[in-house]
C-alpha cells in the first residue's frame, strides 16, 4: 500500500518538534534555559494528565517532583556511575507513591480531594525536613565530576517527548473517553460501566511517573536538593498556571503555556528582577479572564468561526467522534 500523504500529515508536528529539540542546543547560548522549559512542560503536562482530564485538582503534584528528585539525587550521590537509572528510579518511585496516594484520595470528590492532596504535600515536606538520613533541612549536594549539560538536556528532551506522546494517546483512546465521562459526570460514568476509581488511579500513577522523572532530572541539572525547594507548592501552582494558560485538558496546552510562562518569566526575572512576579501575575489574570479555555481553546474557537464563515461546517458534527473511535 502506498502511504497516503493525508494520513501522514498529523506526523508533521511531532517530527518538527523532535528536530527542533535536537538542534536547539546549537542555537541557544544557555542550554539550561531550554532544559528548564522542557522540565516545566513535563511538570505541567503530567499535571494535565490527571487534573486536566479528570477535573480533580491535585495540589500535591510537587510531591511527585520532590520525591522523584530525592530518589534520583540519593542514587546519583551514592556513587552511581550513570545518572540514567537514577532518573528512572525517581520516576518509578513517584509512580509508586501516586499509587499509594490514590487509594484514599480517589474516593474523595471536588474540594475534599484538593484539600487532602494539599495536606499530603505538607506532611511529606515535614517528613523530609526532619529525616536525617536524607539530609534533613539543609538538604544535600551531588558531586558530579564530569557533568555534561548536553547529556542532561537530551535526556530531558526525550522524557518531554515521551510525556507529550503519552498524553496524546491518553486523550485519543478509550481511556480518553473514560476520562471525559468522569470529568463531565462521574455518577453517570459509573452507571455505564466505567470503573472510575481504576481510571483515576492509572491517570494519577502516570502523572506521578512523569513528574518524578522531571524531579530527578532537575536534580541532575541543579546538583542540589533541600525540602523547601523540593516540596514548594509554587511548583504545583506554576504547573496549574501553565496548563490554564495553554489550555486545560489539551495535549498542546502545557507545551505552549510552559514555554511561554517559563520563557517570559525568565526574561522578566533577568531584566526586571523586582517586578517580574507582579508582571507575570497580571499577565496570567489577563489571559485567564480573556481566554478561559486557554490559548488552545481560544485559537480553536477562532478557527471554527473562520470555517463557519467559509461555509465549511457541514453537519455541525464534532471532530472528536467518540462514538466511533
Amino acid at each position: 500500500m502506498k502511504p497516503n500523504p493525508r494520513r501522514l500529515a498529523p506526523l508533521a508536528l511531532p517530527v518538527a518538534g523532535a528536530v527542533l529539540l535536537f538542534v536547539a542546543p546549537s542555537y541557544v547560548a544557555r542550554i539550561s534555559v531550554l532544559f528548564f522549559i522542557l522540565n516545566w512542560i513535563v511538570l505541567s503536562e503530567s499535571f494535565n494528565m490527571f487534573a486536566g482530564l479528570t477535573g480533580y485538582v491535585n495540589f500535591g503534584h510537587v510531591v511527585f517532583y520532590g520525591v522523584g528528585g530525592y530518589i534520583g539525587g540519593l542514587l546519583m550521590k551514592n556513587s552511581m556511575a550513570s545518572p540514567y537509572p537514577a532518573v528512572l528510579a525517581g520516576g518509578l518511585g513517584s509512580a509508586l507513591l501516586a499509587l499509594g496516594m490514590s487509594l484514599p484520595t480517589t474516593r474523595l470528590r471536588g474540594a475534599y480531594f484538593a484539600i487532602a492532596t494539599l495536606s499530603i504535600n505538607e506532611a511529606v515536606f515535614v517528613i523530609f525536613d526532619n529525616w536525617e538520613a536524607v539530609g534533613s533541612a539543609p538538604g544535600f549536594t551531588i558531586p558530579i565530576a564530569d557533568y555534561l549539560p548536553l547529556q542532561a538536556y537530551y535526556t530531558m528532551a526525550s522524557v518531554a517527548a515521551l510525556c507529550v506522546a503519552t498524553m496524546y494517546f491518553m486523550t485519543r483512546s478509550k481511556f480518553g473517553v473514560a476520562m471525559q465521562a468522569i470529568r463531565q459526570q462521574e455518577k453517570t460514568a459509573s452507571s455505564i460501566g466505567v470503573n472510575a476509581a481504576l481510571y483515576k488511579t492509572v491517570a494519577l500513577v502516570v502523572s506521578g511517573f512523569f513528574a518524578g522523572l522531571a524531579g530527578a532530572l532537575a536534580i541532575w541539572q541543579i546538583n542540589f536538593i533541600d525540602p523547601p525547594s523540593a516540596f514548594d507548592v509554587t511548583v504545583t501552582l506554576n504547573s496549574i498556571s501553565m496548563m490554564m494558560l495553554g489550555g486545560m485538558g489539551s495535549v498542546m496546552g502545557p507545551i505552549i503555556g510552559g514555554a511561554l510562562l517559563y520563557g517570559v518569566g525568565d526574561y522578566l526575572d533577568l531584566n526586571y528582577p523586582f517586578l517580574h512576579l507582579i508582571v507575570l501575575g497580571l499577565v496570567i489574570i489577563g489571559v485567564v479572564m480573556a481566554m478561559p479555555q486557554g490559548i488552545v481553546g481560544a485559537s480553536r474557537r477562532i478557527f471554527q468561526r473562520l470555517r463557519v464563515r467559509r461555509g465549511e461546517e457541514g453537519d455541525g458534527s464534532n471532530s472528536r467522534d467518540l462514538a466511533h473511535p
Binding site: Q180, A181, Q184, I192, S317, D321, L322, P325
Partner: protein, 249 residues
Amino acid sequence: MLEEGRRETDPILEISHIHKRFSGLVVLSDVNFSLAEGEILGLIGPNGAGKTTLFNIISGVLKPDRGRVFFGGRNITGKAPHKVSRMGIARTFQIPQPFPEMTVLENVGAASMFSHGGGNGRLPKDPAEICNLLGFGGKMHEMAKRLTGGEKKRLEVARALGTSPRLILLDEFAAGLTVAETQWASEMIRKLSKEFGLTLVWTEHVMRVLMRTVDRVVVLHHGAVIAEGAPEMVVKDQSVLEAYFGGSA
C-alpha cells in the same frame, strides 16, 4: 431466602429482604419482590417512600444493611455500579445526568463503549441506531447541554440502551414531561419490553400514566411494600388509598 418453586421461569431480578437505614432513619424495611423477564413493573409510592434508595441499592451505589439482590440468579448485592452496569442493569436518573460536553451520539457511544457487549442481543449495537430509535435523528450531533428537559430525559433512556441492558431502572421518568411527551414515554416503554424483551422498573409518584403502562405494581410506603398486584387491583387497595390520601377513604 429464595422462594423456591414459586415461578415456572426463574425471575430476572429478585429483591430479597432488603433493609436500609440512614443513621437511625429507616428508609427500607424488609422489601421483597421479583420480576419476570420482559415484565414492566411500576414502583410507586409517595415522596420519601424509598424508591430511589431501592434503585441505588440495585445499581450498586448503596449497600443494603441486610438482604440480597439477585440478577439472573446471581447475587449482585454490594457490587460496584460499573460491574452491575456491565452485567446488564442500566438506569436513568430522576434529574437527567448526561455528559454535557458530549453530543447525543457521543453520550450513547460512550455507553456502548464500556458495556463490554452487554447482555441484550436484540437491541441494536450501533449507537446511531439507538439515537434514531429514541427520536434523535436530526439532533444526534447536538451537545447534550443544549437539549430541552424532555430531550434530556430521552437521552437518559438512549444512554441506558447504549449499554445493551436486560433490565432498565427508570427513576421518575415522567416527572417534568408534557402531556404529549408522557404519552410518548408510555408507548416507548411498552415498545422496549415488547420488541427487545427488556425488563423495566419504573418509579413514579404520579400514577395515572404509569398505571396504563405497567404489567404489575409494587407500592412502597415508609420503606415497606404495602401492596402488590395488577394496576386495577392496587388502585382499589385500602392501604394504598390511605398512603396517598391519608386517613380512611
